[in-house]
């Protein structure tokens, strides 16, 4: 999503920043996001739509009406968030379909779907709103449908993702997004909850034979995640455990490599590791696997 700070957006429209802020108060449009520091970030598509509407109308309110009706051009997180706030499932589906016409699935997920739901997030300690609950379920369904039509795996290596996120947690969607990105890249991928009994992972490790294990979700008991990492390392030879979106916290003592916060970046890093290890043949099965199960 391309965003503009207040001064840049105001300059683009040829008005003062105060005028732009007064429109936000009076008309509720354009609707800026806020940075962590509280600064406004305007959606470039909304500003561009408004600028075009100024040429076609006679007043600011009618220009805003035109820009709203027309939509803000290409699908944006703002439009999707607005649809989700209205519980408008059909409109939300349509916005993502429009996005798929101009963006790849990965970019649609990264630039439209996830930012829109991030913007609905509840503050720490607050219970999630009905809008967030609806949005999470809808997005999980959309990602599951996209996963269902992903191509069959083309690579021999497997990747296992353990998701330790809580209910109504955006991290669960990021884990799903990573699984989708890896599957679309032809990697055998399985997403499991981290609440599994760590001592009973033998069957899945045998079936997937993962080369990489990713831990994600920040709301699990840390020792549960650590146990999974320990068991996996003990069960499978040459397996590498990685952290996606800070599952292991920021203590500074962890030796687990971090994949960052973006599913697409994480996918690229995982593929680079798989490609680097692809040349030499590695032993198929861990000799100590039977001991774990």
């Amino acid at each position: 999503m391309s965003v503009l700070r207040t001064h840049a957006a105001a300059a683009m429209l040829g008005v003062s920043p105060n005028t732009l802020r007064s429109w936000e108060r009076r008309f509720g449009y354009p609707t800026p996001q806020r940075t962590a520091g509280g600064h406004r970030q305007f959606d470039l598509a909304e500003i561009e739509a408004l600028r075009q509407a100024f040429e076609e109308t006679h007043n600011v309110s009618s220009a805003i009406s035109v820009a709203r009706e027309r939509g803000s051009g290409p699908s944006s997180p703002t439009r999707l968030r607005s649809a989700l706030r209205r519980f408008d499932e059909v409109e939300a589906d349509r916005i993502l379909e429009e996005s798929l016409a101009v963006r790849s699935v990965e970019r649609t997920v990264e630039e439209v779907l996830l930012p829109s739901i991030d913007g609905l997030g509840a503050a720490a300690g607050e219970s999630p709103s009905a809008e967030l609950g609806f949005a999470l379920r809808w997005a999980a369904g959309w990602l599951a449908a996209a996963k269902r039509v992903a191509p069959a795996p083309t690579r021999p290596e497997g990747v296992l993702i353990f998701d330790a996120s809580a209910t109504c947690d955006i991290d669960a969607l990021h884990a799903q997004a990573l699984e989708l990105c890896l599957r679309r890249a032809g990697v055998r991928t399985l997403l499991l909850t981290a609440e599994l009994d760590a001592s009973r992972l033998a069957h899945v490790l045998q079936a997937i034979d993962p080369r990489l294990v990713v831990l994600t979700g920040r709301r699990a008991w840390r020792d549960a995640v650590s146990r999974i990492a320990y068991q996996t390392r003990g069960a499978v030879n040459l397996v590498e455990v990685l952290d996606f979106r800070g599952a292991l916290g920021d203590s500074g003592y962890s030796s687990v490599p971090r994949l960052g916060m973006s599913a697409v970046v994480a996918r690229d890093l995982l593929l680079a590791r798989l490609n680097a290890d692809h040349q030499p043949a590695r032993p198929r099965r861990a000799p100590g696997l039977a001991k774990v199960s």
Partner: protein, 161 residues
């Protein structure tokens, strides 16, 4: 630089009438000697776009006015008109003009019918003229209205006096 701006020729319409600029919300006329603004948004109120109309037709800042397009939808409502009709511009935009104003003389011949007049003016097929109107659902109140073309884009300007 100021002198150079002052030497710019005054804009005229197709009939050679001198045009003046005014804000579509507050009605203020921008300083003709000032350098051209970076956008059409009024630098004074920030709520209107700068429009142009013939000098005889253009409203004074205290005169209520509306802008209507060829589909008879309200495109702009001045601040004075908001106060006169007790409406908010955001609620009035895109509504039909007949929701706010109707002809004071219901028996007027069709050529003088207010709505036909507005469509013709907005389409550019009729010159500026005057009509007598009244607020909808209000009796005993009449306004003289100057009606003529304005733009851009082309529309009918209805100034109440």
């Amino acid at each position: 630089m100021r002198r150079l701006h002052a030497l710019r020729p005054a804009p005229v319409d197709e009939q050679g009438q001198q045009l003046v600029s005014f804000c579509g919300h507050c009605g203020l006329r921008p300083d003709p000697h000032a350098p051209p603004p970076p956008s059409r948004v009024c630098g004074h109120c920030g709520l209107g776009l700068v429009l142009q109309a013939a000098v005889d037709l253009a409203p004074r800042p205290d005169e209520p006015f509306l802008v209507v397009d060829t589909s008879l939808s309200v495109c702009a409502v001045s601040a004075a008109a908001e106060a006169l009709f007790a409406i908010d511009e955001t609620d009035a935009v895109n509504k039909h003009i007949a929701d706010f104003l109707v002809p004071a003389d219901a028996n007027a011949p069709s050529a003088e019918n207010l709505l036909a007049l507005l469509v013709d003016v907005a389409a550019g097929s009729r010159e500026a003229c005057t009509a007598v109107v009244r607020p909808r659902q209000e009796y005993g109140v009449r306004f003289w209205a100057r009606i003529g073309p304005c733009g851009s884009p082309r529309a009918a300007l209805l100034v109440l006096s």
